[in-house]
C-alpha cells in the first residue's frame, strides 16, 4: 500500500481513446486506502460514541435499548457544571486572546518592518504550537507555588493562584494569542492603505474610518478568529490536566476522569455522551468558522 503500488495502476499501453475512459476508475482506486482508513479508524470510534451515548445495555440480559438517559445525565449536575465551565473558560480566553492578538498583529503589521513582521509571525507559529504538557510545566516553574516569578514578585501574598480559573486563563492565553496573531495578520494586511487615504481625503476621522470601513471589512475574520480560538480552547485537555488536575471543572477533565475509572462504574456511557456533546459543540464552531473564513477570504484575495 505504498505510493508505488497504489498510485500507478497503469492504463497499460492501450490507445488514446480507451486510456481516457479507463483512467477514471483506476485513479479512483488510489484514493481507496485513505477512504477505507478514515472509515475504519475514524468512523468506527465515532459510531461507537454515538451508539454508546444513546443506548443502554442491561448487564443481566445483555439486551440493548435506546435511551436518552446518558445524554440527559451529561447535561445535569456536575457534568453540566463542567460543560458550562469549559464554555466559560473558552469564551473568556477566546475573547481576551482575540483582542490582544488583534492589537499585537496591528502593531506588527503597521510597523512597516519586514524583519519584525517575519520574526513575529514565526514566533507566533512556534508559540501557538507550544501547548500541552510542556506549557503547563513552564508555567508551574514560573508562576506556580514555588515558581521563580511567584517568589521574586511575591505573587502569593497578592492572592495569585495558578491552579485556578484565572491561572488557567493566563496559561491558555499563552498559546491562543499567537494563534490569533497568525489568523488575523493576513486580514490586517488586506486593509489597503488606499482605503484609509480615501477615507481621510473625504474628511473622515480615524474613528469613523474604523467604524465604517475597517471593522466591517475585518468582521468576518475577527469572528472567525474568535470561533477558532474558542474551539481550540474548548478541546484543550493536556494543559489543564497537567496544571489543575480536577480543581477547575472542565468537560475534558470530567471525560478523562470517567474514562480512567476514577468514579463509579457505569460512567463510560456518560463519558460517551459528554464526548458527543463536545463533538456537537465543536461541529457547531466549525460550521460557523468555515463560512466566515470563506467570506473574509474575499477581501484578502
Amino acid at each position: 500500500m505504498s505510493a508505488t503500488s497504489t498510485a500507478p495502476h497503469p492504463p497499460g499501453t492501450a490507445g488514446g481513446a480507451s486510456r481516457r475512459r479507463r483512467r477514471g476508475p483506476r485513479t479512483w482506486l488510489a484514493a481507496l486506502p485513505l477512504l477505507a482508513f478514515t472509515g475504519l479508524c475514524f468512523g468506527i470510534p465515532l459510531g461507537a460514541i454515538a451508539f454508546g451515548a444513546v443506548t443502554r445495555t442491561d448487564p443481566a440480559t445483555g439486551a440493548t435499548a435506546l435511551t436518552g438517559e446518558h445524554l440527559a445525565r451529561s447535561l445535569q449536575g456536575p457534568y453540566l457544571g463542567s460543560l458550562v465551565g469549559s464554555v466559560q473558560l473558552s469564551a473568556l480566553t477566546a475573547l481576551i486572546g482575540g483582542v490582544l492578538g488583534v492589537i499585537i498583529a496591528q502593531a506588527v503589521v503597521t510597523s512597516g518592518s519586514a524583519g519584525l513582521r517575519g520574526a513575529a509571525l514565526t514566533a507566533s507559529g512556534v508559540l501557538a504550537n507550544f501547548g500541552g504538557v510542556p506549557l503547563a510545566f513552564a508555567f508551574i516553574a514560573t508562576a506556580g507555588i514555588s515558581g521563580v516569578v511567584t517568589q521574586l514578585a511575591d505573587l502569593g501574598s497578592l492572592g495569585w493562584n495558578l491552579y485556578s480559573f484565572t491561572g488557567l486563563t493566563v496559561v491558555y492565553l499563552y498559546f491562543l494569542t499567537p494563534l490569533m496573531v497568525l489568523v488575523i495578520a493576513p486580514a490586517l494586511d488586506g486593509l489597503r492603505p488606499q482605503w484609509r487615504e480615501a477615507a481621510q481625503s473625504s474628511g473622515a476621522t480615524t474613528g469613523q474610518f474604523w467604524r465604517h470601513v475597517g471593522l466591517p471589512v475585518l468582521a468576518p475574520s475577527l469572528l472567525g478568529g474568535f470561533v477558532l480560538l474558542f474551539g481550540t480552547a474548548f478541546a484543550a485537555h493536556a494543559t489543564a490536566a497537567a496544571l489543575v488536575g480536577g480543581s477547575v471543572p472542565l468537560v475534558t477533565l470530567k471525560i478523562a476522569d470517567a474514562l480512567s475509572g476514577n468514579v463509579l462504574t457505569g460512567q463510560e456511557n456518560v463519558a460517551l455522551a459528554l464526548g458527543l456533546d463536545m463533538i456537537l459543540i465543536a461541529g457547531l464552531v466549525m460550521a460557523v468558522y468555515l463560512p466566515l473564513q470563506r467570506r473574509s477570504a474575499r477581501w484578502l484575495r
Binding site: T122, T142, V148, A282
Partner: protein
C-alpha cells in the same frame, strides 16, 4: 490544540514569502507620533509576557535555592528512569505515523488531481473531519471499540488483532489514532504543494516521454512536493511528540506522559524536559519555514493561504 497547527504551517511560509516583498504600507501611519509610542508599548508588553515564562523556566531548572547554579536537571536526564524508552517510543510512533499518513494521503491526493476530480470533496471532507472531533472525544470512542475485543470477539481470530494493536512495546492503536489526528495537517500541506505544481501537465509530459507510472510518481511528482512533504512530516512529528491525551487515557507511556509521571518526584527535571521540547519544536518549525522559502513553494504561498482559509 489540533486546530492550531495548520494555521502555523500555513502562515509561516506565507510570512517568509511575504517578507521580501516591500510592505505596502506607506508613511501615513509613521508620520504620526502617538501610534509609534503605542506600538512600542504593545510590542514590549507582548514580548515580556511571552519571554518571561521561558526565562523563568530556565532559571527554575538551573537554580537550586540554597545551592546555587547547577545543571543537574539536564545532565541527569539521560540516566533518568524511562527517559530513553519513552523518547524512543515517541520517535518510533512519530515515524510510523508519518509513514502511514503520507502513504495514505499522497496517492489519494495525486489521484484526485489527475483523474478523479469528482472525488475531491469526499477526500477533503474525510481529511478535515478529524478537526471537529477533539482528541478527548476520539479517545472515548477508541476505548469503547477496544472493549469490544474481550467482550464480544474473544472467540474469533479478530481478537488477536485487538491484542496486537495494544501491544505495550509498540501500540499500533496509537499510530492509527495519531494518523487520524494528523490527516488534516497532512492534507493541507500536501494540497498546497500540489496546487503549486501543474500535476496533469507534468504527468502527461513524463508519460509521453515514456516514463512508467512508478517513475512518474517517484521521480517527477514527489521531488516537486519535497517542501510540502517535509512540512507534513514536521507537523506530524511535533503533534506526536507532544501528544498526551490519547496516550495517557489508553494507558501507554510515550514522552509527554512520561514528563507528567516524573513531575511529582523530579519537578526540576520535568521542567527541563519541557524547555528542551520547546526548543526542539522551535527548531522544527524554523526548519519548516526555511523549507517554505524554497522558490517553488514561495510562489504558491498566497494561494495556500486564501484557499486553506476557506
Amino acid at each position: 490544540m489540533a486546530a492550531m497547527t495548520p494555521t502555523a504551517a500555513r502562515t509561516t511560509p506565507e510570512a517568509a514569502a511575504g517578507a521580501p516583498v516591500p510592505a505596502p504600507r506607506p508613511g501615513a501611519f509613521r508620520a504620526r507620533r502617538r501610534p509609534r509610542v503605542w506600538r512600542g508599548a504593545v510590542l514590549a508588553l507582548a514580548g515580556a509576557y511571552f519571554l518571561v515564562p521561558l526565562l523563568a523556566s530556565f532559571v527554575f531548572t538551573v537554580h537550586v535555592p540554597g545551592q546555587g547554579i547547577s545543571f543537574e536537571a539536564y545532565t541527569g536526564l539521560l540516566a533518568a528512569d524511562g527517559f530513553t524508552e519513552s523518547l524512543l517510543l515517541s520517535l518510533g510512533l512519530a515515524a510510523a505515523t508519518i509513514a502511514l499518513s503520507l502513504v495514505l494521503a499522497v496517492p489519494a491526493l495525486v489521484a484526485v488531481r489527475i483523474g478523479s476530480p469528482r472525488l475531491r470533496p469526499v477526500v477533503e471532507v474525510m481529511c478535515m473531519l478529524p478537526l471537529v472531533v477533539p482528541p478527548i472525544a476520539l479517545v472515548t470512542g477508541i476505548t469503547t471499540v477496544l472493549r469490544w475485543g474481550p467482550e464480544h470477539l474473544s472467540r474469533t481470530p479478530l481478537y488477536q488483532t485487538f491484542l496486537a494493536v495494544q501491544n505495550e512495546s509498540f501500540p499500533v492503536v496509537l499510530v492509527l489514532a495519531y494518523t487520524v489526528l494528523a490527516l488534516p495537517f497532512v492534507y493541507r500541506s500536501l494540497d498546497a504543494g500540489l496546487r503549486a505544481v501543474d500535476v496533469p501537465t507534468l504527468v502527461e509530459a513524463a508519460r509521453s516521454c515514456g516514463a512508467s507510472w512508478p517513475y512518474v510518481v517517484l521521480r517527477v511528482l514527489l521531488p516537486n512536493l519535497r517542501a510540502s512533504l517535509a512540512g507534513a512530516a514536521f507537523l506530524t512529528l511535533a503533534l506526536v511528540l507532544g501528544e498526551f491525551t490519547i496516550a495517557s487515557l489508553l494507558g501507554f507511556q510515550p514522552f509527554a506522559v512520561w514528563i507528567v509521571s516524573i513531575s511529582g518526584a523530579q519537578a526540576r527535571m520535568s521542567v527541563a524536559v519541557s524547555v528542551l521540547s520547546l526548543l526542539i519544536t522551535w527548531l522544527l518549525l524554523l526548519a519548516l519555514s526555511r523549507a517554505g522559502t524554497v522558490p517553488s513553494t514561495a510562489a504558491a504561498a498566497p494561494a495556500t493561504t486564501s484557499r486553506k482559509e476557506s
